[in-house]
């Protein structure tokens, strides 16, 4: 029976978030908090593997108390258990400190029930770094497999995972020892509309909550702001592309003009099977 842990995060919905024009930072209060979309795919993949091989899916998150909502979302998707570490000591963590705290929590979960596989989303939509997953793998000294777009097989008896990694032009087939850590692409699966019994279970569910004192042998100097060597020197919005040509007139005229331009610049396009 597999024990799969998905590491997840509650993030502000960056599709609707407003930026502070002075500091160029996100105004987190301006957007609703959601489960990081990549993480939903991570949990879904874990649930699919559980259905295929049998076992348990746990989810783990670090965050402020309202992040319980993100865990409940994972229960809706089909996770069995949820763990949350929450404490002021964790606040202000960069990816290094975050991966340290999560690793400590994973060690504790592993003591309850040994972990065979860890699945993370490719990255969070608020940080966009994709570093926490590999950071956890490094600390646990297990193989990190990034950009996973398909899980072909998990063989617990023989102790390996067979997966496809997304490359720029094609994919790579990798076999790795278990336990290992996967960080997954969105295309790995589609998260379906959750069944009603899961929704009801999620509404009732209360996750296990740990503070820093619950994590054995934790080195406090590696947590939160203190444990975060990252310095954000400057933040600026992406520059808007300049120049270009605006077409005017009736839609039909605009289309005709656009076609002329595109035909004149056909070297920009690679069209399969068309000889010129």
């Amino acid at each position: 029976m597999l024990h799969i842990v998905a590491c997840i995060k509650q993030v502000p919905d960056t599709k609707v978030i407003k930026m502070n024009p002075k500091t160029n930072t996100m105004d987190r209060s301006s957007a609703p908090a959601i489960l990081n979309p990549y993480d939903a795919h991570a949990v879904e993949e874990a649930v699919r593997l559980k259905k295929r091989y049998g076992g348990t899916v746990s989810v783990l998150t670090m965050g402020p108390p309202p992040a319980v909502k993100a865990i409940k979302k994972c229960i809706e998707i089909g996770a069995d258990e949820g763990y949350m570490i929450t404490d002021r000591a964790f606040a202000g963590a960069d990816t290094l400190a975050t991966s340290y705290a999560l690793t400590k929590a994973l060690e504790k979960i592993s003591a309850i029930k040994p972990i065979d596989l860890i699945i993370c989303g490719k990255m969070t939509i608020d940080g966009d770094t994709g570093q926490v997953g590999p950071g956890i793998a490094r600390r646990l000294d297990i193989p990190p497999l990034t950009s996973v777009k398909k899980v072909v097989e998990i063989n617990r008896e023989r102790g390996y995972a067979l997966i496809h990694r997304k490359l720029e032009d094609g994919y790579e087939v990798v076999q790795s020892a278990l336990p290992c850590l996967l960080s997954v692409e969105k295309e790995i699966n589609e998260v379906p509309y959750s069944p009603l019994p899961n929704m009801i279970r999620a509404a009732r569910y209360q996750p296990t909550i740990w503070s820093v004192d619950d994590l054995e042998g934790v080195d406090r100097s590696q947590l939160g702001l203190k444990g975060s060597p990252t310095i954000v020197a400057k933040v600026w919005p992406p520059e808007k592309p300049k120049g270009g040509e605006m077409l005017e007139g009736e839609p039909a005229e605009q289309v005709a003009r656009l076609m002329d331009i595109l035909l004149a610049k056909r070297e920009l396009f690679r069209v399969k099977g068309v000889e010129r």
């Binding site: 509309y193 009603l196 009801i200």
Partner: protein, 431 residues
């Protein structure tokens, strides 16, 4: 095996949440189903929440709930093209406990209210649409949702699914509502600096004002426009009977744009920034449009039961009271172990004896009367503003002459008789 609850409440608006809260507090196992992403995400009202009925459920709620401003002034504006006759009551007693009413933003308030029901033990499931009631042997025994494995059962199902309740309709409790039984309201939330709001509406910090606007705001169609103050935004909206919009071939957002551009309204909202646009139907058919509200294993509450007093812009308070009365009837039925129509009928009896039923009966003909005779709005409001202009313009003619002129302007003796008759008729439907 599908799960069974004591009660399923469909819809987490004021009626449904009041019902679920009351039941959960009494220890009943209740499932509250909401189709929106969260309670309030799909709910719309002008913005006034009455204190009394809410406080009957949660005493002192305003100390914690996200309310915007307590209302200390209510203005009523009879609007013509470029004039208005305004009547207002301002009372500072409304600005302190126990308060009269508050402006609220539903997206925030409904969420808070549903959270309180959850704290009492109600189970809230969002983003789930109820497709139909499950009926066995003529008795409602559960609901079918749009989710996989989506059936769930209960002793009683409470339909709080809002105006045009499709669930009550599919049970045969009512027919499709006619365009003269529902109003269409459109509304915008306009962001405006707190201080500017207080200056423009002559308010102290954390006091609020409401303006109801009749007449030209709806281009003479039966309905009202409104302008309410929130903390740092305004609610501006207009609601008219659907039949009027159809008859005059008007689009609701055009009407709202007309209100916003009106020279007497524009100064209030100048410099504000549009934050939200909302639209919703309001059941305004009143007493005569009320559907059957009790069946075997099922009760109908709130908008779904057409519980709106259009004349006094009351609805959410009636919804709350209906939710509580439904809960009480269910508790009594549970005690007796009988969920038949007869056992649950105490809900209907108590509702009709409460202020909800009484007020609906009082105004049972009002909306229909004004709907039928649009000249109240089209003709009499301009008549009033013209008379006021005549009387208060100092132009050297004597006040006696002015009164004579106003009297002459009312028209021929036949016309005057018609006005007198209309005033009598209006009094009759409102008394």
């Amino acid at each position: 095996m599908a799960e069974k609850f004591d009660v399923i409440v469909v819809g987490a608006g004021p009626a449904g949440t009041s019902c679920a809260y009351t039941l959960a507090k009494a220890g009943v196992n209740v499932l509250l189903l909401e189709r929106g992403e969260y309670p309030g995400s799909k709910n719309v009202m002008g913005g006034v929440l009455y204190r009394k009925m809410m406080e009957d459920i949660i005493p002192g709620f305003y100390k914690e709930a996200p309310v915007e401003r307590p209302i200390v002034e209510q203005r009523f504006m009879m609007l013509d093209k470029e004039s208005a006759l305004t009547f207002s009551y301002k009372g500072l007693e409304w600005g302190r406990e126990p308060y009269n009413n508050f402006t609220v933003l539903r997206a925030k308030f409904d969420q808070w209210f549903a959270d309180q029901a959850v704290r009492q033990g109600a189970l809230l499931v969002n983003e789930t649409v109820v497709l139909e009631c499950i009926v066995e042997d003529g008795r409602v025994v559960g609901v079918r949702t749009d989710r996989p494995d989506g059936d769930v059962y209960a002793d009683v199902v409470v339909l709080a699914d809002g105006v045009n309740s499709l669930l009550a309709k599919s049970l045969g409790f009512h027919k499709e509502f006619r365009p003269d039984e529902v109003a269409l309201a459109v509304m915008e939330v306009l962001k405006l600096d707190k201080k500017t709001i207080e200056d423009r509406f002559n308010l102290e910090a954390d006091q609020g004002c409401t303006i109801e606007i009749f007449g030209d705001a709806t281009k003479g169609i039966l309905g009202t426009a409104w302008l309410y103050t929130n903390k740092d935004s305004l609610n501006i909206g207009v609601g008219t009977m659907l039949s009027g919009l159809i008859k005059h071939k008007l689009k609701p957002y055009e009407l709202l744009e007309y209100v916003k551009q009106h020279p007497l309204i524009r100064p209030y909202i100048q410099g504000s920034e549009q934050q939200e646009y909302l639209a919703h139907l309001i059941p305004e058919g009143g007493y005569r449009s009320m559907p059957k509200i009790v069946g075997s294993g099922v009760l109908v509450v709130g908008d779904a039961a057409q519980l709106v007093n259009a004349i006094h812009r009351e609805g959410s308070n009636m919804a709350m009271t209906s939710g509580v009365l439904a809960a009480e009837a269910i508790l009594a039925a549970k005690e007796a172990g009988d969920f038949s129509e007869k056992a649950l009928d105490s809900y209907r009896v108590n509702l009709m004896n409460s202020f909800v039923g009484q007020d609906l009966q009082k105004y049972k003909d009002a909306t229909h009367h004004f709907e039928k005779f649009p000249h109240y709005f089209e003709e009499y409001i301009p008549l009033l503003t013209r008379a006021a202009s005549q009387m208060f313009t100092v132009d050297g003619s004597s006040k006696w002459d002015k009164q004579k002129k106003i009297w002459r302007d009312l028209g021929s003796p036949g016309k005057k008789f018609k006005i007198a008759r209309d005033i009598y008729n209006a009094w009759k439907v409102m008394k």
